[in-house]
Subunit: 115 residues, 2 copies
Amino acid sequence: MNTTTTTTAEQPTLDNIHHLAIAVTDVTASVAWYQAQFKCDVAYQDATWALLKFANTSLALVIPDQHPPHIGFVVDDAARFGELTTHRDGTRSVYVNDPDGNALEMMARESVRAG
Amino acid sequence: MNTTTTTTAEQPTLDNIHHLAIAVTDVTASVAWYQAQFKCDVAYQDATWALLKFANTSLALVIPDQHPPHIGFVVDDAARFGELTTHRDGTRSVYVNDPDGNALEMMARESVRAG
């Protein structure tokens, strides 16, 4: 008997945008501003960047000379884009540029926790 | 007897990021490039912009002097941010800048179709 895999609503056939990171000049002030405008949770914050969790994806606020603005995608076979780096949170990824120089982080699906 | 509202998984308590729009110079070439890298669907495309649907949000590729790069949020009471404009797709929104000049589109929740 074959083993079948059930695709759930949490594992769609389209790729996921894990986060986007935009440039700010003052992380503390920007976190306060975003929390005043939106219903979002602060998942991480230090002097150089913060991570705001929204319902469907996350928004990183970054000091650009510390952390470059980019978009993070969860993809299959991320290594096709280059050598993966393992980060402190356990995710593995590689940065590439699109044809216009937009920075994209290609994150290995198996290294990204659900939710 | 009071009327109670049930919150479903599709109506989370955190706000949603509806789309992000990034600058490209050639919409046709960029759509082809993104489709080659990612599992995404082309929801709309013309010479000035395209909308790529991902599992959890959408990515717009825009010619910046036609459509400014921005992030679109679905929010309650969008009119608190200013006068709403109704777009051809029926959504109503207003653009504001964050403290660093990042452009944000505040979209009225009741004008955005589910999914």
